[in-house]
Symmetry: C2
Subunit: 433 residues, 2 copies
Amino acid sequence: MNLQAQPGSGASQYRILRETDLRDYLAALPAVASRLGGTPASWSISEVGDGNLNLVFIVKGASGSIAVKQALPYVRLVGESWPLPLSRAHFEHMALVHQARLAPKLVPAVLHHDDTLALTAMELLEPHIIMRKGLIEGARYPRFVDDISTFLARTLFFTSDLALSAAEKKQGIADFAGNHALCKITEDLIFTDPYRIAEQNRWTAPYLDATAAAFRDDLDLHVAISRLKLKFMASPEALLHGDLHTGSIMVTETDTQVIDPEFAFYGPMGFDIGAVVGNLLMAYLASAGHERTPGERASFEAWLLETIEDVWTGFSQRFLALWRSEAKGDGYPVSLFAGEAGAARLEAERQAYMARLFQDTVGFAAAKTIRRILGLAHNIDFEWITDEKQRAICEARSLKLARTMMLDTPSFTTIGAVTAAAREVRGWQPDFA
Amino acid sequence: MNLQAQPGSGASQYRILRETDLRDYLAALPAVASRLGGTPASWSISEVGDGNLNLVFIVKGASGSIAVKQALPYVRLVGESWPLPLSRAHFEHMALVHQARLAPKLVPAVLHHDDTLALTAMELLEPHIIMRKGLIEGARYPRFVDDISTFLARTLFFTSDLALSAAEKKQGIADFAGNHALCKITEDLIFTDPYRIAEQNRWTAPYLDATAAAFRDDLDLHVAISRLKLKFMASPEALLHGDLHTGSIMVTETDTQVIDPEFAFYGPMGFDIGAVVGNLLMAYLASAGHERTPGERASFEAWLLETIEDVWTGFSQRFLALWRSEAKGDGYPVSLFAGEAGAARLEAERQAYMARLFQDTVGFAAAKTIRRILGLAHNIDFEWITDEKQRAICEARSLKLARTMMLDTPSFTTIGAVTAAAREVRGWQPDFA
């Protein structure tokens, strides 16, 4: 089987849809047309994609609304000079189907998928907003902890060796192996470029010039990031979302939806959990940059730290509960842990397993932070801080925390140790401040 | 891509070849027929398979000889009640092709392969014998250390993230993912059954009854073997042979050939290296059972221990040399280790990598030993010791060593520590002795 010949990569039938094409295309889909209601001519269609890679259309009809996502054969952010396989839409759709089964109601419902056009029609999430934007505004989301820890625990557990037979697991790994071009983006932009001279790197100059140079010269850091990169490439523990930052989560006060799993592949669980933790840590350390008066966001920031703690704790409890009740996989066979003593020993090993997973989580959270400050793709938590010096202060604090988390990972044995370190660095003033 | 639909698993065209069928089949292959020479009627054909799984024919003609291996749709050792996919012949052939490219002259040349018949014709290895038989006789093989450490270093390095791009690596993993039925045999027979009641287990009773029971009750051991099993299932570091014991190696004084890679898949490197080390340790501890007079094999045994040390050392040196000169993969990018200080730091990390790999090797060597004494498939190193009590003494020593290697793995930081422990346990007398 040749991974180059994935569905969706046959460009012959593919065309980029304009508004008119899309209207005709959707009109020919009875289920979609009836959901929208009214005549196709009455549908409003607008392209709203603000991500880095794809076209996104919102289509509204008399009785309903949908979102349509179409992959472009290149990186939208950069243009045709950076080609990217259409097959990512195939993998995204496959991931959405798995996630809907494993974590019901936490991902948008798929209404239609077309591998040739690299197109997926989904329910429109309304009145949801991108979580990152809400956090910048200081909004709190009471459902978030339960929902994201459920999403993480269920999608990771049920695609791991603890739940699957080795044959099912190998089939899953093979099914997603063709998504290597998206993995390569992560390998370059997260695990390599921020630590070396790379044309696409940028940072808040001149304030962070010295820090960026220090990161490029820090060989201990280079060993640590290289070990994480190797783990990312060669530890297919579970089916990952692969890009689980707060821009891939849409929220209301009462609902949480995980979107955009086009980076999905079998990788180390800590990469997904670390993405959530790292992005919440950045939201926390960016918060000072969004204050109008000192301390006005103190209680929001306290909520964020509590949320970080509860995400790990909630994930860990749910994952362990699944392991105790749903362990049908080939890993850690229960027949080797019979009787009361066996059960106790297995429970101790479960705790040890979670401790190792927490170490991975800390390392990957740090990697996700550093790439957003010294690499190509930044996030609006920092970018929307218009005072550049203030932005650099927030970023320098995040880099200081991330560096410690990556180099002294074993010293972080609890999530409380992580939030304590974040709280401490929140009060640190960099030299240029 | 459905792994069930691998080439070779379509049973419709498959038929088990008898001598006459095979003669007609080979006669229709010009390259094979001309190699054999003479008329097809003049060829001598004999079925000689003494392995657990397949038919093996030796075909001799006027000018040349070949070996023909055909997979049966079940485990030969057990019969039709234990079905096994024919597709294993497809994976074995693919592995042979890779190994021939990566480690020239160390695997038999393939003359013809037929996925439908699950059949491969190869050069006949003459006057080679199975290394295990030679070791039982006390024979020494001067080429073995250089050849096997070259085979290990080159096949493992060039299929790892140190030599391949992440995309090439994922393609390789997917190519072999369908060989899960063979992996499952290993998962069950090596990593699970010897540690629990299983119908197929056997051991030298009554001498080892108490030890077998103790292994079934030893929860620390069950945790250790479960961690190794998880690593076997979820650490695709490189393309493994997958069954690299001394029965899969054919030797003369001047040549070494690795055969039978039907268990090939992407797994942890330490599994292959540990297979070699573990089987040499068993040859060493079985040697006392083949003495006619005490001490008569002392110098052979000293050679075996030296060989064990040299296999690891030779492998390690070759692997490191390849890493220094041929590191074209996505792992540990050299751009992160520029300049003299960078080169020194990367070299230190290489040593740390080898230290971790050595730990895996020690653990897997122990696992390979225990399964041969308490599980289904035993080896003739021990089986050919006709005095059962003497055999049990040799086996008990091996189990004692393996248990220590599996539970106290970190205490074995050098291969010298392993051979020292083996030497010590050689002098130990079990209670029943």
